[in-house]
């Protein structure tokens, strides 16, 4: 039998992690598919019974999404329009079954290039809170994700929460995912876009593309071009040369690299079109 720990208290969890280097288990929607075994190979630290890790709360600096917040929690939460993209992504993660169990933190820690949560959280300027018995540290999400299936997390650290700064909770947002079928599909490419405007001008443009590079990437050239621009016809700013340099797509069974770049540009255009028509009020 595997050593399986399911503490209810965060400190106990951190101690166990430091002592055992256990595999952290949350929704297990990435962990179980990776094994043919009947049981999770241990030692396992199951963090789903720790109340302190669950849920979405407002903090002085913005919003805190606890590690075991599930996709379903996100869909049901009352959140500002800047989070619409995250809700749209949540609805497209796998299936209802996967959304019930799967967590945001698991999505980040698993660090798949096609993780649907990542572009949205990048476009929300998310940071991650890493906790261990030696204290906590914060990293921007972009620094946390170091490569395909690689993160900056030390084995003794738990991703305790995701933080969204107050500034990034402004604006409206959109998520678009492209796959070869409707449900239960790994993205060929996906785009998250958040636009905040003031007095008819774009004040913030945060646009990220996933599945087109080793980890999802923001599009700095396009964001620069959009910032300060009139808040109409946003899609007109999209050119492949403002997108392609940020990406490094590969050929795989789902699509070829050239198609991915093209599709990413088209999805960005569509997301921005969707965000354009209403003259900005926020």
């Amino acid at each position: 039998m595997t050593a399986y720990h399911r503490p209810t208290d965060l400190d106990a969890a951190l101690r166990l992690l430091a002592d055992t280097g256990a595999t952290v288990a949350a929704g297990c929607t990435d962990l179980f598919p990776a094994t043919d075994r009947r049981a999770l190979p241990g030692p396992v630290l199951d963090i789903t019974a720790i109340p302190a890790l669950r849920g979405i709360v407002a903090t002085p600096e913005g919003l805190r999404l606890g590690a075991t917040t599930t996709w379903t929690d996100v869909i049901r939460a009352d959140l500002p329009p800047a989070f619409d993209m995250l809700k749209e992504a949540a609805r497209e993660v796998g299936s209802v079954q996967i959304q019930t169990a799967g967590t945001l933190a698991g999505n980040l820690c698993n660090a798949s290039p096609a993780a649907d949560g990542v572009p949205c959280l990048l476009a929300l300027d998310a940071g991650v809170e890493l906790a261990s018995t030696t204290g906590t540290r914060r990293l921007p999400l972009s620094a946390f994700l170091t490569g395909p299936r690689q993160t900056a997390r030390r084995p003794d650290e738990l991703l305790a929460a995701i933080h969204i700064p107050a500034a990034a909770t402004a604006g409206r947002s959109r998520f678009l995912k492209l796959g070869a079928r409707k449900y239960l599909v790994i993205s060929i490419a996906m785009v998250a876009a958040r636009i905040a405007t003031d007095a008819g001008r774009v004040t913030q443009a945060a646009i990220a593309v996933g599945a087109c590079s080793a980890t999802a990437r923001r599009l700095p050239d396009l964001e620069r071009a959009l910032t300060g621009a009139p808040a109409t016809a946003l899609a007109a700013h999209v050119t492949e040369d403002r997108i392609a340099p940020a990406l490094s797509p590969i050929d795989d069974i789902r699509a070829d690299a050239a198609y991915r770049t093209h599709a990413a540009a088209e999805l960005v255009r569509r997301a921005l079109t969707d965000l354009s028509p209403q003259e900005a009020a926020a």
Partner: protein, 909 residues
């Protein structure tokens, strides 16, 4: 290792259980193996299929992804708990709408639907599709499932039809009750006491030599007793295959593997031990060889079987007229080259079953499409006479052709035979996908031509069908394709060749249509080219060229009941409306372009010019119980119901009077295999003849005339006619060898005539016909395709059961859509259901079925086959619709977005 397990408290369906369990164990395992609640199914162990869906505190989750610790202290609801939770009407609705075919997805569907209905008692179709998007069904095409979920409690089950009115009645399947209750027994649900669990060691290489190391030492190092069996342990002939002349596949490879996933050894141990066995450390040394993976290269490559030069297993050919001269004289010609992918059957039930000894008889219970073939082949491998092997078909969770072949039967049989203990085996999803057969990838070229009036004058076809490592049904494909590659059209000058070519890819075998769906893609692309070249409407072009009654096929046969012209005619009003709608929509949008396309099918039912008899036994016991020995395995397609309907009307007793005896090889005569769309026709015909024969005997017995009405009344048979009522007590008659007071047993074998060296002859006695029309929308900037609607007109001669026939159409269309748009099996890359994509609820179009009834002179009550026909026109109709919408002429399948976009650009260039 042997630390005592902690106790977990689970509340399942309202009952508390305190069970010792590893907290990290999959909830699905605890439910199925520890609590024997086997209604929760396992199709993938990876969250991809949703068959294992259960509710935890009312929310749906995949039990295969849930460590049991996370369910502790919470309310778990499984399919077994649905009636108590108030969902019996939902289960009834599934039955009523024909929403369960093979039934393996049904528990997951029901549970996911229950979660939806609890929150939203009157969901829309879109809401139901979203809620069920995480449960895959390979049989139904989802339409009837969505119908069932959106109309719970709206209609009662209709009264069963009276005697003589079964054929044509929309009755629900006779074997549906256990499927919607979650009590159906599939191979994985069988757990004989004291059974050993069997696992296979399989090749990670496409081609390799290997030597086994010290397996005894390895076994001794495991945490408990472990038995190892290799090729050296096989008592009989270590070779199996479906066609006697081409038998070539070892049950366990000796020293050489020809494909990835090939088994080289099996390991058996107690359930408590097997989990801890380190299969990765099994002592084997591989010497990988350079594999032949490309079908063209393989024709000049290393020989995969020494006795098959050029790696050609067999070539089939049909030659008629002088196509060379006709092409030279043609007004228009078109040429195409098309390539299709390996397609996986992707039934939701991986191979599974159990074996045990009963005296000196080996009993194997597992899902199958061909029990008698299983028996004979397993007996050969295990060195037993066939009558010492008994095959009991378990409920089969989808087959579509692949479960015609042996898989685990010789493996579990070997363990049971050698140890005397029962043996169980359940393939993992990866194992199922890697080791079992596929649809042949085809590389095809062809040319077709018309005269100035748009009449087809000639066609040539040449195809290499990648048959993979072993023969399986490759010969059948190579023979069937040239016979059918003309489509159901008049083609006076014709030359077609199809080769089954070995590679080190997975063995290609039987998959709904035996190569004809691939050939139809090429043919219907060519005919679309010709319609356009002649500036003719595509439907008008096909109607002009369709076979008419009395016409000769490319084999020179003049079949009866030719229904293609009627099928095409049935599409006409829908076609006109859809083309007009598309034109109107396209006038408004540049990015989203609508298109309408069509394609036809024909398909000969039964073996190609070879015997394939079915025998039906029908008897009444002295107690007055009517039993139909229905030997056609029902893999979800509905044979149990349809054959009974035919037999009931032939006999003149109501369906409700029948008890079924299944295709157990010790109890029921051989009805052949469930393939080639032969069961409704061939077994149906045998059932009709047997029904009439028993009727004749009953009439004689009761001294009644032809028009007497029969009834069973307790142990009496009662005949009534204008002259009154006569009764005979059945228990007064001496029982026959099978214990029946009165019985009939009849055999039917389709009359065919062998093909000569030019493929001329009468390959099939009955054909089915049809045509489908696809309406699609193509995203011109992304290359994505959405199929909005399919209109399917099929001539089934006589519709035995419209509900089940619609289910076949919808399921076939789902598979055709997958073939067209998303399915591509790549060995080692897509051995799971998230990289290998099959359609979900959200991918299916609205489907309109139109049944045409051009009675067949040979088929039972005029009926023809349907099962495979329905898949054939779908992919080419979709491709032609994509072309109509976007100009893209797709030549490589599946039409993934990047390929469609590239084809759009080619068309615009």
């Amino acid at each position: 290792m042997n630390r005592p397990l902690g106790t977990l408290n689970l509340t399942i369906n309202g009952t508390d259980h305190a069970i010792p369990a590893d907290p990290g164990r999959r909830l699905s395992e605890v439910l199925r193996e520890d609590l024997r609640l086997t209604g929760t199914k396992v199709g993938c162990d990876a969250g991809d299929c949703g068959a294992c869906t259960v509710l935890i505190d009312g929310a749906p989750v995949c039990a295969c992804l849930t460590p049991v610790a996370q369910a502790a202290g919470r309310r778990v609801t499984t399919v077994e708990g649905l009636p108590d939770a108030g969902f019996a009407p939902l289960q009834q609705s599934f039955l009523r709408h024909g929403a369960a075919q093979c039934g393996i997805c049904t528990p997951g569907m029901l549970v996911a639907a229950a979660a939806l209905l609890a929150a939203n008692p009157a969901p829309t179709r879109a809401e139901a599709e979203e809620a069920l998007g995480g449960v895959l069904c390979r049989c139904t095409g989802y339409a009837k499932i969505i119908d069932a979920v959106t109309s719970v409690g709206q209609a009662d089950l209709p009264a069963p039809p009276p005697a003589g009115a079964a054929v044509g009645a929309r009755i629900e399947r006779l074997d549906g009750g256990p499927k919607v209750a979650g009590t159906e027994r599939y191979g994985a649900d069988l757990a004989p006491e004291n059974a050993l669990i069997v696992r296979a060691i399989r090749s990670p290489h496409h081609a390799a030599r290997f030597t086994l190391g010290d397996t005894a030492a390895w076994a001794a190092a495991q945490p408990g007793p472990v038995l190892v069996f290799t090729a050296a342990d096989i008592p009989g002939d270590n070779v199996f295959g479906t066609i006697p002349a081409f038998v070539d596949q070892p049950a366990l490879a000796q020293s050489h593997v020809r494909m990835r996933g090939e088994a080289i050894a099996i390991v058996a141990a107690d359930p408590g031990t097997i989990e801890a066995v380190d299969l990765d450390a099994f002592p084997v040394t591989w010497q990988p060889e350079t594999p032949e993976l490309d079908v063209t290269a393989a024709r000049a490559g290393n020989l995969i079987h020494d006795n098959r030069p050029g790696n050609v297993l067999i070539a089939g050919k049909v030659h008629k007229g002088d196509p060379g001269a006709a092409l030279a004289a043609a007004s228009q010609t078109a040429t195409a080259r098309i390539e299709t992918a390996y397609v996986e059957h992707a039934y939701i039930e991986p191979e599974s079953g159990a074996a045990w000894m009963e005296g000196d008889t080996l009993v194997i219970e597992a899902g199958t499409q061909a029990p008698v073939m299983d028996r004979d082949d397993t007996a050969r491998v295990l060195g037993l006479p066939p009558d010492r092997v008994r095959i009991i078909p378990a409920a089969t969770g989808g087959g579509f052709g692949s479960k015609l072949d042996l898989s685990l039967q010789p493996l579990i049989g070997l363990v049971a035979l050698k140890t005397g203990r029962p043996a169980r085996m359940i393939y993992t999803r990866r194992e199922s996908m890697a080791s079992t057969t596929k649809r042949h990838p085809a590389r095809m070229t062809g040319t077709a031509a018309t005269d100035a009036d748009g009449r087809i004058t000639a066609m040539t076809f040449d195809g290499d069908f990648n048959t993979g490592a072993y023969a399986s049904w490759g010969p059948t494909v190579a023979v069937r394709v040239p016979v059918h590659a003309s489509g159901p059209y008049r083609v006076p000058n014709y030359h077609a060749t199809a080769r089954a070519v070995h590679t080190n890819g997975p063995s290609s075998g039987a998959f709904r249509g035996f190569g004809v769906p691939q050939a139809a893609i090429l043919q219907e692309t060519l005919f679309e080219d010709l319609a356009l070249a002649n500036a003719m409407d595509p439907l008008a072009f096909r109607r002009l060229n369709a076979l008419q009654q009395g016409d000769a096929t490319v084999c020179g046969q003049r079949p009866g009941g030719v229904g293609i012209a009627d099928s095409l005619a049935a599409l006409q009003p829908h076609w006109d409306a859809a083309r007009a709608r598309a034109a109107e929509l396209n006038a408004r949008s540049k990015t989203l372009r609508h298109g309408v396309g069509l394609a036809s099918c024909w398909y000969g039912c039964g073996n190609t010019a070879l015997p394939n008899p079915s025998t039906i036994r029908l008897g009444i016991t002295p107690e007055g119980a009517l039993r139909l020995h229905q030997g056609a395995t029902d893999i979800g397609q509905g044979a149990n119901t349809v054959i009974t309907q035919i037999c009931a009307d032939a006999l003149g007793l109501p369906v409700a009077a029948f008890g079924l005896v299944g295709p157990d090889t010790h109890l029921t005569p051989d009805c052949g295999k469930t393939s080639a769309s032969r069961q409704t026709y061939v077994t149906g015909k045998a059932a009709e003849i047997a029904g009439r024969a028993l009727r004749a005997r009953l009439l004689t017995l009761t001294n009644s005339g032809e028009d007497a009405a029969l009834a069973l009344d307790g142990a009496d048979i009662v005949a009534r006619d204008a002259h009154g009522e006569r009764r005979v007590r059945l228990s007064d008659l001496p029982p026959d060898a099978h214990g029946y007071a009165i019985a009939a047993e009849e055999t039917y074998d389709p009359p065919t005539r062998a093909l000569d060296e030019n493929g001329q002859g009468e390959p099939y006695a009955v054909y089915g016909w049809g045509a489908q029309m696809a309406e699609v929308v193509v995203d011109m900037a992304l290359g994505t395709v959405r199929v909005l609607r399919m209109t399917a007109a099929h001539d089934l001669g006589r519709v035995i059961n419209p509900l089940l026939a619609e289910g076949q159409v919808e399921g076939g269309i789902a598979q055709g859509l997958g073939l067209a748009l998303m399915e591509e099996y790549i060995p080692a890359r897509t051995e799971n259901l998230h990289d290998y994509l099959i359609p979900t609820t959200g991918d299916m179009p609205e489907i309109r079925s139109i049944f045409v009834e051009v009675a067949d002179p040979e088929g039972p009550m005029g009926a023809k086959g349907l099962g495979e026909h329905v898949l054939i026109p779908t992919a080419p109709a979709i491709l032609n619709a994509i072309r109509h919408a976007s100009g893209a002429r797709i030549t490589r399948l599946p039409a993934l977005p990047h390929r469609v976009l590239a084809a759009i650009r080619d068309a615009q260039a």
